[in-house]
């Protein structure tokens, strides 16, 4: 496989749920070994895009490629190549950390010896080795999150998907978690595709950021590029400049849509 080829290639991706277009003609590439952040307000289409990339949802139209494979056609091959940490937890709380790791390894067909070696190494890396024999229900939120990420890496995936992995964590846990993810990205060269609501996190860890809003990509570039493009000092300001300040749970008014259309027009 050519290393200069992007590991993820998304072209003209569309996903409709009935009349609602959740993802509207989205195209982007993710390079190998980069940390790519997907930012956007609630309901912008982040999770829908992740679900399509991780084989959980069929696109309405457009093409997807992950490590040269089509997730819609080669579902199991793609699943083998990705690690996914979902928005909501997916650990078995009545099993120990080690057992959670082990079952994952079996599910992904990792041979016994390799499974045990990697599980031990990852638990060590994510500072969970001491508690590997404890039931997950005795773990704190931060520990559970770290365990999920460690588990997602057990089968040596090429891409690690993190869907709002720091939701509900305290600043210490968030900080620690990102340190681990960055280390892993540097040492193992695993590509990381993440979504988050915390701009400071994206600013700190991401090599490149795509901002998505109303199902469309409104900007893509490095954190510095996004800031300079919008004349903003912080990524938070850049984000608000790009996506508007309207609250997303309510339906957006016509005036706001006009403003937004104007903003997009000016940028081109």
């Amino acid at each position: 496989m050519d290393d200069t080829q992007p590991i993820i290639r998304v072209q003209h991706l569309v996903k409709k749920f009935g009349d609602v277009t959740a993802v509207d003609d989205v195209s982007f590439d993710v390079r190998r070994a980069e940390i790519f952040a997907f930012l956007g307000p609630n309901g912008a289409g982040k999770t829908t895009t992740i679900r399509m990339l991780t084989t959980l949802l069929q696109p309405t139209s457009g093409s997807l490629e992950l490590d040269g494979l089509d997730p819609t056609a080669r579902r199991n091959d793609v699943r083998q190549r990705i690690g996914v940490v979902f928005q909501d937890p997916s650990l078995d709380q009545d099993l120990t950390a080690w057992e959670n790791m082990d079952i994952h390894g079996v599910l992904y067909g990792v041979p016994r010896r390799e499974r045990h070696e990697r599980a031990a190494r990852l638990l060590e890396l994510f500072e969970l080795a001491e508690r590997k024999g404890s039931l997950v229900k005795t773990f704190s939120g931060g520990m559970r999150r770290r365990l999920e990420i460690a588990r997602g890496l057990l089968h040596t995936p090429r891409v690690l998907f993190l869907d709002e992995p720091t939701l509900g964590l305290d600043p210490q846990s968030r900080n620690q978690m990102w340190t681990h993810v960055q280390n892993l990205n540097q040492t193992d060269g695993v590509t990381v595709f993440l979504t988050t609501h915390y701009m400071d996190e994206a600013d700190r860890v991401a090599h490149r950021i795509a901002v998505i809003d109303h199902g469309r990509i409104v900007a893509i570039g490095s954190p510095a590029e996004l800031k300079s493009r919008t004349n903003s000092e912080s990524l938070e300001q850049a984000f608000l400049a790009l996506t508007g300040t309207a609250i997303r749970e309510e339906s957006v008014g016509a005036a706001d849509r006009m403003r937004e259309a104007g903003r997009m027009w000016r940028r081109r």
Partner: protein, 248 residues
């Protein structure tokens, strides 16, 4: 195969890890055996039917298996709520393997629980006709466990939330128990009850176990096992189908 084993092991491990639950679910069988067994015993004997405890003990073993296996099938709902279901469903393995591991694991746990009730009934005074019949009895219990574990999988795959639990309990599981002839002989019943009892798969489980343990089968053990096998096959196929339709 390895996946089936790992998921089976998960169920068994959890069972042995919670002795409180193990003993807690013994509550109602003990009550049925102790209170109903000895309370209705004199009347049953006066009616010329022999020992009620002997008669009902196999029924109570089946009841325990019914409850335990249905519940472990419905633990799917629990796993859905806490997310572990997603972890298994996005793995690069066929859904059928996952469904089989879970279902057979649930059946195994139910079998253990049935054996525990078997021990309890021995203490209460139940005596099988012959010691050599016990292995056959275990086989029958395993069949019953598989049938209802598959049923639990169907229910667990079809419900979205725990809210439906009470309805299932009152309108499916309890009727299956009460219509099975676990507590009364199948002879001379009103027509409606005769028909309903024959439609209940547990009837054949209770009858087979009674046939094997105390030599008192209404239909004959062969027919019973055939009925159980058919029920298991149909429910497993349905379970696999429902399980394949779960969306995460």
């Amino acid at each position: 195969m390895r996946v089936v084993f790992a998921l089976w092991m998960r169920e068994v491990r959890k069972y042995f890890r919670s002795p409180a639950q193990m003993l807690g679910t013994l509550g109602s069988p003990v009550m049925y055996l102790g209170v109903l067994g000895f309370g209705l015993g004199p009347i049953f004997r006066r009616a010329g039917e022999g020992s009620y405890l002997q008669f009902m003990a196999p029924g109570i073993m089946c009841m325990t298996i019914l409850f335990t296996s249905t519940f472990s099938g419905m633990a799917l709902l629990w796993d859905r709520q806490f997310g572990f279901l997603k972890e298994t469903l996005v793995a690069p393995v066929p859904r059928l393997t996952i469904m089989l591991g879970r279902t057979v694991g649930g059946a195994t746990v139910a079998l253990f629980q049935g054996l525990l009730v078997f021990l309890v009934s021995l203490i209460a005074g139940f005596r099988p006709a012959h010691v050599l019949d016990v292995p056959t009895a275990i086989l029958v219990m395993a069949c019953v466990a598989l049938v209802f574990s598959a049923m639990g999988t169907i229910i667990g795959s079809s419900l979205k939330e725990m809210q439906g639990f009470q309805i299932i309990m009152n309108f499916l599981v309890m009727p299956i128990f009460f219509l099975s002839g676990a507590l009364y002989p199948l002879r001379n019943l009103p027509v409606a009850l005769t028909v309903l009892t024959r439609l209940d798969p547990l009837t054949y489980g209770v009858d087979a176990l009674r046939g094997v343990l105390i030599g008192d089968a209404h239909f004959g053990v062969g027919l019973d096992i055939l009925a159980l096998a058919i029920a298991a096959t149909v429910l497993l196929i349905l379970g696999a189908y429902r399980f394949s339709k779960i969306e995460v």
